[in-house]
Symmetry: C2
Subunit: 454 residues, 2 copies
């Protein structure tokens, strides 16, 4: 099974972290006492705990993971009670149904979290893997070895299962973790962290390896972002607003995840049946996720064959098409419902049953459009031409490029990584699904016998 | 031979990039026209050029590298003339001799730059390397392939050879590069960039693949740091002041390089002869570089054997010892010159013939001291104990850990990478020497035949 830490979930921007003004950024570094002091104290405790984690054997870590899984089962009633208090408060505040759904825990969902921990325990330990090694001409023995990053902070939104999944992935990769969830899930998260800490201690690991950061104000997020030297990386799990805030304010390294304005390009001479199937899967199999398609571009040379099949299929699936003028002509011919595309549609990540539909006169125009509007997540081409596929792969700039396959395959589970903490859309460190290896760094260990350079 | 882009050179902080106030940071994003507009325009041109670079074959890139090398030889007189103008201006401004030396070009130094390009041409092309690949259970063919980052910006200090080395490494790895050198080297750099561009065009590559960024004001550095979406990574090559500025102001990803407060720990039961040789090499073989040792910690159990040999050797090499009270006692016994260590000494990167010398009562204390004062560059232990070596390697947190070897071995050339653009002290993306692979990212290329997830 796949363990996904809201990696492909629809983002939402929590009020306490969203859209901070640029002018406030400089308070991060200089904040003292209060939230910043509290967070620095938590980070210091996590840093101390990270030393034990870094040297813990796989056996100890896996035993802890399975212990947490057991404890989640045993303490399900307390977790559900805390979650009900969060839900009651959210309902009072008029929280939308979709967010309430994400916030809701059930016995089945808790069992799913426990099962995900078992999956993580079954994966190989990334720590200690020798990435490269050789004996140098002078006899020095060089090994580049994977080691934990140290202290990882995850800033995320409503879903409380992220608390457990992120803790599990951090633990397996030997990192201490600071979990800054949404205030809407505060009681659920606090209870889950308590369950995890008790199980850690039972396994002989420090409770401080997994610490919750209070979601009392956006200052606690800021303090994490400014905790240079205490926090090794911040991973924001959420929508574009959260990610913008994090990038603007962070003084610690960040791994960006998740915004996907994914395109499906249907080339001239594509197999229409394959193209329609790929488009429907990319758009409708789970529209709220970042690897769902948001724009379809169709080569003018296949439009007359493609649209009479695709438009009714999209309509039947409940997709609203935002059509350019040439697509609109087909819309009129087939009689399905659609709206006229505006300039903004080409940059919109709908995360809903909407798709922008455009016409291009050439492969070049398709590549140019995608380069202009892509968020660098996943881009797909449907083609029978080897040359077109080759050019598309070479010239599109994205974490993943699909040839005759759905955009939805950009997923750690689908690609065989077993677990993911998100999908990186940045180019440094990790691009694409973030697995356990991506939560590590490396050290060069060089062993000699009195060697000097002279 | 080794190609080093000032990777291990002593840093210096140029006035135009140093110590910007926190309150100024927010002007980066909102700067318009002037320097910011000019830099954005350069970055856009580089981005267009980067598309050609990304798909250029190794043959074309290597021909361009060899063409640049030839042109450097042919146009040596013009390069020297420009350099003389820079030197004259620097002398008028009373620039210190050490910096004048770095700024100075000679026919031999230009020949060295050309030869370094030949070395880069001989290295394998990182672009296109398949990092991992498999056929998935559903028949999808997955390959993770190295691709260029896109547009790389290098911000560096006086040495004009960085212009050529950075251009060569960027070209080989398929990246366009924006070179923001020091104003003190403005004429040398402009001439070198001109030589490079002419050779690029002759090789059929776009001149805009290598662009100089005017060093007219610190605003041009700021504009680079704020050019999100246009610049894929900024690599600062310089001292702690430059790196702090970059980290505080950057809205684009950064790879930090270079600050090294490196320790040599002499364990109880170490071989004294090896320990003295390693200490001397680590400190004195090139004191101005980031992999030089700055502190020696000696286990109390070996101090009586170690110091009577080490102190006279250090004194003979011209090293000034900043000694803790217990080391001072040995200093008095041997009659060499030393000063009393202050609290600041433990955090000072001298980059000179100075070393802090401390005494520890245990391996634990040594590890604790190093964890508290390390900059995460290189830490060394001299020991005959396998257990001590194992613990030191596991518990010290640095890009490189040396066992019975000089700290000076943290170097791309020494470790067999052939070329380096610096030594990363950060944990994300790349840690330790940055070679050609570290100037790339990856794309997942997934090929199917109409595959959908459903």
């Amino acid at each position: 099974m796949t363990v996904t830490v809201s990696g492909t979930e629809a983002p939402q921007t929590p009020p306490e972290t969203a859209g901070s003004g640029a002018g406030e950024a400089e308070t991060v570094g200089s904040a003292t006492g209060g939230a910043a002091g509290e967070v620095a104290d938590l980070a210091r405790r996590a840093r101390v705990a990270s030393r034990s984690l870094a040297t813990a054997s796989r056996g100890v870590k896996d035993a802890a993971l399975r212990g947490i899984a057991r404890a989640l089962g045993e303490r399900t009633p307390a977790i559900l009670a805390a979650n009900e208090r969060d839900l009651a408060r959210a309902q009072e505040q008029g929280t939308p149904g979709a967010i309430l759904d994400r916030l809701t825990l059930t016995p089945a969902r808790i069992a799913g979290m426990a099962s995900a921990l078992g999956t993580i325990a079954d994966l190989p330990d990334p720590v200690g893997e020798v990435v490269r090694g050789s004996t140098l001409p002078n006899g020095l023995v060089m090994r580049q070895v994977r080691v934990p990053l140290g202290v990882v902070a995850v800033v995320y939104e409503a879903r409380p299962n992220v608390t457990v999944d992120a803790a599990g992935l951090a633990l397996k990769s030997g990192n201490a973790v600071l979990l800054r969830g949404s205030s809407s899930a505060a009681e659920s998260n606090a209870t889950l962290v308590g369950v995890i800490q008790d199980a850690l201690v039972q396994a002989g690991l420090p409770a401080d390896a997994v610490l919750g950061v209070p979601a009392t104000s956006r200052e606690t997020t800021r303090a994490l972002l400014g905790a240079r030297g205490l926090v090794d990386v911040v991973i924001p799990r959420g929508g574009a607003g959260l990610i913008r805030t994090v990038v603007a304010e962070a003084r610690v390294p960040v791994i960006e995840t998740g915004v996907g304005n994914c395109h499906v390009y249907v080339d001239a001479g594509a197999d229409v049946a394959k193209a329609v199937a790929i488009l429907l899967d990319s758009k409708t199999s789970r529209p709220s996720v970042c690897n769902a398609a948001e724009t379809v571009l169709v080569h003018v040379g296949i439009a007359d064959e493609f649209w009479p099949v695709a438009l009714p299929a999209l309509a039947a699936a409940g997709v609203r098409v935002h059509a350019d003028p040439r697509v609109l002509a087909h819309v009129r011919a087939t009689g399905v419902l659609a709206v006229e595309a505006t300039a903004e549609d080409w940059d919109t990540e709908y995360l809903s049953m909407d798709i922008a539909a455009g016409t291009v006169d050439s492969l070049d125009e398709a590549i140019g459009h995608i380069r202009a509007h892509s968020t660098g997540h996943t881009e797909a081409i449907v083609t029978e031409s080897l040359g077109a596929a080759r050019r598309f792969v070479a010239e599109v700039d994205a974490a993943a490029v699909m040839v005759n396959a759905s955009t939805r395959f950009t997923d750690g589970g689908e690609l065989g990584f077993g677990a993911e903490i998100g999908i990186s859309t940045q180019k440094l460190h990790a691009r694409g699904p973030l697995g356990l290896s991506e939560l590590t760094t490396t050290t060069f260990v060089v062993t000699g016998d009195g060697h000097v350079r002279g």
